[in-house]
């Protein structure tokens, strides 16, 4: 071992001190959850939603495929023939009973995959809070979307403003397999409150993100990518400028929100006085 190497090895003792000092100024990785919510991943598996067609008919046909495929045995479905005078679903039968036990559900989304009519999908809601076992069983009353096509807001759920897309029920469990033939092709029926949703982007290199309303996955989850998969514009000095721009915009939004809050508070004071 040369002298330089020896000296380097001895000096490496101080590496810990240098590193800890550097970390003092670094941004914190912790998120203060109840105050600030992390943006959800595009395919987050949350609690289920039973969808309806645009005319208000239920999509569920009571076929019990979801219950059959469920590895945790948490779904209980019973179908019934549609009453001829006021049909619940456009088909022959409809889901008469639909229950999901969230003490058992593992959010694997196999039910979503199995469903032939896209009746059951998962929202990005994840806040469950129940104090007894009966509350853990969500019935059709809780799962079915309301007349605006939104999931039912349960008393223990925490919905924030501007999280409409997050709360909405639409979500495919997996991506459309990367087959270029399905690129930009709508593969589902319309939905109450939202109409026909835009098709998802496939995994082909030529996909049109604008037309399919999808963000490239590398923009959404850059932190999880390997170094070679991050675009050059987000690396190094360029990346720093890019991040600074983004954070500047975010700060602007924050400052504006603060200003409006202050204005509201002032106005309230004035009205009070």
């Amino acid at each position: 071992m040369s002298i330089q190497e020896t000296v380097k090895k001895k000096l490496s003792f101080f590496g810990g001190f240098v590193l800890t000092t550097k970390h003092l100024t670094r941004p914190r990785v912790t998120r203060e959850y109840p105050l600030e919510k992390k943006p959800k991943q595009p395919r987050q598996h949350g609690r289920h939603v039973l969808n309806r067609y645009e005319d208000g008919m239920e999509k569920c046909i009571g076929c019990e495929l979801c219950a059959g495929v469920c590895p945790a045995d948490c779904i209980y479905v019973r179908g019934l023939d549609n009453p001829p005078d006021h049909p619940v679903s456009p088909g022959e039968r409809y889901g008469y009973v639909y229950e999901i036990n969230y003490l058992r559900c593992i959010h694997c989304d196999l039910c979503v995959e199995a469903c032939p009519t896209q009746a059951i999908t998962e929202s990005k809601l994840f806040e469950y809070s129940f104090t007894n076992r009966n509350d853990a069983i969500y019935t059709k009353a809780e799962l079915l979307v309301d007349d605006n096509g939104m999931p039912q807001k349960l008393p223990w759920e925490d919905w924030r403003e501007g999280e409409d897309l997050m709360i909405s029920g639409w979500m495919r469990a997996t991506s459309p397999a990367g087959n270029a033939d399905f690129e930009g092709v709508v593969q589902w029926a319309g939905e109450l409150g939202y109409g026909v949703r835009a098709p998802e982007g496939g995994q082909s290199g030529l996909r049109d993100d604008e037309a399919t309303h999808t963000k490239p996955i590398r923009e959404v989850m850059e932190g999880h990518l390997l170094a070679k998969d991050i675009p050059a514009a987000h690396k190094g000095m360029q990346g720093r400028i890019w991040r600074a721009k983004i954070s500047g915009e975010r700060n602007k939004a924050k400052i504006e929100a603060l200003k409006t809050r202050r204005k509201v508070a002032k106005a309230k004071k004035k009205t009070a006085s």
Partner: protein, 416 residues
């Protein structure tokens, strides 16, 4: 004690003992106790906050502004928890041990001068609780009693991990106490007094009067290392090594007794920082630009500043260094620090007589050190040689003949 004997240490007793003197003493005691308790809560908050900053976390921020009241909340929570005593425990010693570790930590602070001399109502008052003529010996004695707190806690729990921790604690703290005492002797030799006030006074005036520089850095460094081991702080916290010993000596403790150990640990950090500052960094000595009024509060500011700097240093060590292996720790204590402090003591003593003695003793120490290093290297070789390695426990050695007979590959050995 007669007033004359008392006055030898403290100018407060010059006029003899009367009720005003007693009131002043009581006020000083209450004040410094309150300051200590407040400082401990702040220290725990400071440590958690700094460590979290070093790890890119946020740290406590729920209770009070910046989480300042988190310690208080923890204390209240611990106070209301169930106080368990294990069935195997020695009940009296189990209850006694937390106090044995808290009280010395607080008592040490009594002899630390945290300011200059203030004159109120014609009495000159030292800004320290007491200035006994044996000052620094009290620090050594109390830190030795602190060992009992941890050792007895480990023993009285009647549980194996705390017992191991107690054994480690006694061995570690006693061996580092030797180096600690040796460096203190260097300081005392230079000052010619055991009183902490005179140690501080002898360093006053300029930065090169500080013992850190006067004694040539080595005693200060050894003292700091020994103090870290003495207070069981990382990287020398083998006593409460979570990865090896669950929680160490306080595994079986809960409720307020556990809180007392926690308190003692952080109080020790503060008091030992204060002792380091007193012995090597001039105590309250420092630059005063504000004239007469500055001479009252600037010493306090300097003392606090230096102590906080050392508290930060201790926290930094915890953030930066991994825990040392137990045998390496003992090696460092016995093979490095004790010879080094002893040698430096001899060199300082030599130079205090005259230059020739100093140079001669320095050469002798260097020669002795080289001999010692050679001895250690030979010993290390012996330890790592093959013959010294014991066969693995739990397996009987099988003779090659028997092995051959048992294995079906070769039948030559056994059958004939």
């Amino acid at each position: 004690m007669t007033p004359a004997l008392l006055a030898a240490g403290d100018p407060l007793y010059a006029a003899g003992l009367n009720w005003i003197t007693l009131v002043i003493i009581v006020i000083k005691i209450i004040f410094s106790f309150a300051v200590c308790m407040g400082a401990v809560t702040l220290m725990i908050w400071f440590e958690r906050k700094v460590i979290s900053d070093m790890q890119s976390r946020i740290g406590p921020n729920r209770a009070g502004p910046f989480g300042l009241l988190q310690t208080l909340a923890d204390g209240i929570k611990l106070f209301f928890k169930e106080d368990l005593i294990p069935g195997q425990a020695d009940r009296f010693v189990f209850k006694l041990a937390p106090y044995l570790s808290v009280v010395p930590a607080l008592v040490i602070f009594a002899v630390v001068p945290f300011g200059g001399v203030v004159t109120i109502a014609g009495r000159s008052i030292d800004l320290q609780v007491a200035d006994p003529p044996i000052g620094i010996l009290l620090v050594l004695a109390m830190s030795a009693i602190g060992v009992y707190g941890i050792m007895l806690a480990g023993w009285a729990s009647g549980s194996k991990y705390p017992l191991l921790s107690g054994v480690r604690a006694s061995a570690q703290m006693i061996s580092y106490e030797a180096a600690l005492g040796m460096t203190v002797v260097t300081v005392v030799m230079m000052t010619g007094s055991l009183s902490t006030r005179s140690i501080v006074n002898s360093q006053a005036g300029a930065i090169w009067h500080w013992n850190l520089i006067r004694l040539g850095f080595v005693p200060a460094i050894i003292f700091i290392i020994a103090v870290i081991a003495e207070t069981n702080r990382p990287p020398f916290d083998v006593v409460e090594a979570e990865s090896e010993l669950v929680g160490g000596f306080n595994t079986e403790y809960s409720s307020i007794r556990f809180a007392l150990f926690y308190l003692a640990e952080f109080m020790n950090t503060i008091t030992m920082s204060a002792v380091i500052v007193t012995l090597f960094f001039g105590g309250p000595d420092g630059y005063n630009p504000f004239g007469h009024y500055g001479s009252i509060f600037m010493p306090i500011v300097w003392f606090l500043g230096k102590t906080v700097a050392f508290c930060y240093f201790f926290v930094w060590l915890r953030g930066a260094l991994p825990r040392m292996r137990y045998d390496k720790l003992m090696d460092l204590g016995w093979k490095r620090l004790i010879p080094a402090s002893l040698g430096w003591l001899l060199i300082v003593a030599g130079f205090m007589v005259n230059g020739w003695w100093g140079v001669g003793l320095a050469l002798a120490v260097i020669a002795g050190g080289l001999g010692l290093a050679r001895a250690f290297s030979i010993g290390g070789d012996l330890e790592s040689r093959d013959q010294a390695v014991l066969p693995p426990v739990g397996r009987r050695p099988i003779s090659p003949r028997l092995l051959r007979r048992l294995s079906d590959g070769d039948t030559k050995g056994g059958e004939q």
